[in-house]
């Protein structure tokens, strides 16, 4: 009997110790994302969650955003920098246990490029692949012409349209991801539902309620699963993040200037606050309109010198921003944002601004046309826009009218020809630290357009509209004639500086020597920052987030609002 009792007792003790040391699941919950599909071909904002943990490219970013080998175990780059050959690691597995092969990459990238599937806003490195653009734009219909070749089950080769040193880092981005062919061909759209989505990254998607939340769980087949610490990621897509954070319902939120005073007063929150720079610039752009005043560099300089960015950063952003003098932030190599010459030229100086305006024929703002800010309903309460308005009215004596439109109407209206001088506001972000990220070829060509006189710009837009009409009517001949005329305007009436930028970028794209390449981009940046006036950089906002003290989350200066990768989250 006694023995029996002892056995029972020891059993109880055993089981209780077992329960006591039972593995506690580590869950990381965060707030501040949105989305509408997990299909990579719709590569917009939400897809970055793929990048943070669901799907992994040949290359991935380490926690400091350096490109390191992901699905690739090795790679070679041809001498001329145009052919990339990757060897895929043998232990790479999909979340259902299937092995990841070169065919999956070929299938995935072509799926994303195919015009028959979704189309997103960002192509990144996929654009560099030979014929990829033409295939994506339905100019050619044969996917075999795209420069992707499977050499064997574990080897894939990309042929680019030129040497693009940043191709490697863009392999970490979603447009160059593999996709799981069998499940997509079998399930169609349902393949992207939670539970069905097959991924090859550190996590798999186990739950998704649109507008509410998504749940990721550790992918046991991931080759580096041992190093992944958090078992479960919960992303909350709504609610009041600040309330949820204080209720301990989430571990990480992004905060803005509005919450700072509350955080500052709370000793615990204050300790949990992390701020870091972000590769985003808030800008104002010219819309299409015709007015000689806006062809006058004195006016354009005056307009910029009349905005007290320091003050705006201090009061509007409560220190969560710094003045911006370039559209390319100083987080991008080759940026000239802090170049003294650039800063000096556009530094706040109301006296000088008024003088410039007077010289241009508008003393005290007299005779200056009314300026319109074309904004959408989401910007209606943006203090930055109101601040610029008041700065211009106060410092230059000009009149600003804010026109507020519904978002959809606004997106169309801002590309129409305006009857009066008009500006729009938006932000520009660069996704990875490479000089080529902002200075793409089309951006450099855009500089040509941006340097046109307002009259020429309006003419170009008119011709483009005609061209669209002609194409719609099926008049190919007229359309191509118009195309020639447009081309002509852009190349003959643009400024020499703009053409210089284009040639520097073209040169840089052919240059493989990293130092020389960087120098070429730097020169292009500086010319643009000093001589280009089509957009006014305003401020470079900073990211601020609250993170519970038991988590260590590496931050990402480039993917605005996202952690760098869930696999790098550490618990304390």
């Amino acid at each position: 009997m006694r023995r029996f009792l002892t056995i029972i007792l020891s059993l109880v003790i055993l089981s209780s110790t077992f329960l006591g040391t039972a593995y506690a699941e580590k869950v990381f919950r965060w707030s501040g994302s949105w989305g509408n599909t997990w299909d990579l071909s719709f590569h917009q904002g939400f897809i970055w969650v793929h990048m943070m943990g669901l799907t992994e490219g040949l290359i991935k970013w380490d926690k400091d955003m350096n490109p390191v080998k992901g699905m690739a175990e090795s790679y070679t780059i041809s001498k001329d920098g145009t052919v990339y050959t990757f060897k895929i690691r043998k232990d790479a597995k999909w979340s259902n246990g299937d092995k990841v092969t070169a065919y999956d990459f070929e299938y995935g990238i072509k799926y994303i490029l195919s015009p028959k599937n979704g189309r997103g806003s960002f192509f990144g490195g996929a654009w560099y692949i030979k014929n990829a653009k033409d295939y994506a734009n339905a100019v050619i219909s044969d996917p075999n012409q795209v420069g992707i070749k499977v050499l064997d089950e574990y080897t894939i080769q990309f042929t680019l349209d030129g040497p693009h040193p940043d191709f490697l880092t863009t392999c970490a981005l979603p447009t160059l991801y593999p996709m799981h062919r069998t499940s997509i061909e079998k399930l169609g759209n349902k393949a992207f539902d939670a539970g069905n989505l097959v991924t090859n990254g550190p996590y798999k998607l186990v739950g998704y309620t649109p507008n509410v939340e998504y749940i990721l769980e550790k992918n046991p087949y991931y080759y580096d699963a041992d190093k992944v610490e958090v078992d479960k990621i919960v992303g909350k897509l709504g609610g009041d993040p600040f309330l949820m954070y204080r209720r301990n319902e989430v571990d990480l939120i992004n905060v803005g200037a509005a919450q700072l005073p509350v955080i500052e007063k709370d000793p615990i929150l204050k300790k949990e606050l992390i701020t870091f720079p972000q590769s985003t610039v808030n800008l104002m752009y010219f819309s299409y309109f015709e007015h000689p005043a806006f062809d006058d560099r004195r006016v354009l300089t005056a307009l910029q010198k009349a905005i007290d960015k320091e003050k705006i950063c201090k009061f509007v952003y409560r220190g969560l921003a710094k003045p911006a003098y370039s559209v390319v932030t100083d987080l991008i190599p080759g940026s000239t944002a802090n170049d003294p010459e650039v800063v000096e030229k556009f530094r706040f100086d109301p006296e000088a601004a008024r003088k410039l305006l007077a010289e241009a024929g508008y003393p005290g703002g007299k005779g200056f046309p009314t300026v319109h800010f074309l904004i959408h309903s989401g910007q209606a309460n943006d203090p930055l826009i109101l601040a610029v308005k008041s700065e211009w009215e106060k410092n230059l004596g000009i009149k600003v009218i804010i026109d507020n439109y519904e978002q959809g109407v606004w997106s169309v209206k801002r590309f129409e020809i305006q009857s009066e001088p008009t500006f729009t506001f938006s932000g520009a972000s660069y996704l990875y630290p490479d000089p080529a990220a902002p200075l793409t070829l089309n951006y450099a060509e855009g500089c040509l357009v941006a340097s046109l006189k307002t009259k020429d710009l309006v003419e170009k837009v008119r011709l483009e509209k005609e061209q669209t009409e002609a194409l719609k009517a099926g008049d190919e001949k007229k359309a191509s004639e118009l195309a020639k005329r447009i081309h002509n305007i852009i190349y003959t009436r643009s400024t020499p500086e703009a053409r210089k930028i284009l040639s520097l970028v073209q040169q840089a794209q052919r240059t493989t020597d990293p130092k020389k390449r960087l120098e070429l981009y730097r020169q292009a940046n500086k010319i643009r920052d000093i001589n280009m006036y089509s957009s006014f950089p305003l401020v470079q906002p900073m990211s601020a987030r609250l993170v519970k003290s038991n988590f260590e989350v590496p931050f990402n200066k480039y993917l605005v609002g996202f952690p760098v990768g869930f696999a790098y989250i550490r618990t304390k």
Binding site: T37, W38, D39, P115, K116, R119, G120, S121, F122, G124, K133, D134, A136, N137, A138, V139, N189, F192, T209, P210, N211, V212, E213, K236, G238, G239, D240, L243, M244, R246, R247, E249, E406, Q407, G408, V409, S411, V412, K413, F415, S426, A428, S429, Y430, L431, A436, P438, T440, L441, N442, Y443, E445, G446, Q467, T468, L471, A479, A483, H487, I490
Partner: protein, 324 residues
Amino acid sequence: MTQYIIKRIGWIIFNLLVLSLIAFILIKNVPGSFLELQILIGQAGTMGTGLTISEVEKVRGVETEMMKRWGEDVPLWQQYLTFIKGLVTLDMGPSFRWPTQTIEEIIANTFPVSFTIAILAVTIAIIIGIPLGVLAALKQNSWIDYLVSALVMVVSAIPNYVMAVFVIFLFSFWIPILPTYGWGQPKNYILPVLAMSFGPIGSIAGYMRTSLLDALKQDYIRTAWAKGGTERHVIFGHAMKNSLIPLVTILGPMISHLILGTVFVEGMFGVPGMGQYFSQAAGSRDYPLMMAQTVIFGLILMIMNLIVDIIYFFLDPRIRVSRR
């Protein structure tokens, strides 16, 4: 009665057709189409995404591909017929904004949620609002009446997002017993339902108060007193019966409104309802979803009215007997 209902249903179908046609014309005429927005985003979004000048013309090819994908490569009247066909066969295809979900799936997933929440909110509003209104009416011009009237004013004037924050503070901070956010457990219903029931409590209490006061002034109430009725007999047996009937008429629109008009509460508490889908549909020019939304809204409103009329039919002998 059955004949009447059949006739009404016929009307509903006819009205829906007219409604959807008008909506279709209006929606297609709002500046900015889904495709335009997509292409514009492609050109003007994140830097480093666009096309070089020589490539711009080529994009037209994509446009036709995309138009084909979204069924916009055919004339408008054909697009409308396709929509109607989809509506009838319950196969309306994918949403534009939510490309991997079909309209039917979206509605099948979200309608039950929105409907349940709305019904719960109205039930609570009835349970609380009616006694409040009765109390105020019976104690007319007393402090209770003033208190109730003030309460009615306050809760009907305060928008439900303020109420949402209020209930979060109440039940998640001061009395920390409920989560502010999430879905899936019964307790997740409490706060959104509560936040949404305040407005209806106000209107039901207010409505009840006036209609009961009105009923109490009627001659037949004096008759009931003269017959020796106690308060229970007169107020609950006679006056309430009359004042509850008109209340039914406000419940129909109230429920339809709650089913569709809960965007903020949904977003705040993480309720996977219809409201958010629909509110985002317009902004992104998600035509199929916008059309579905219009039809659903019309349908819910008309069905609710029909149900109200049927209930009215059973409650009010004047209508019931004369229709017979």
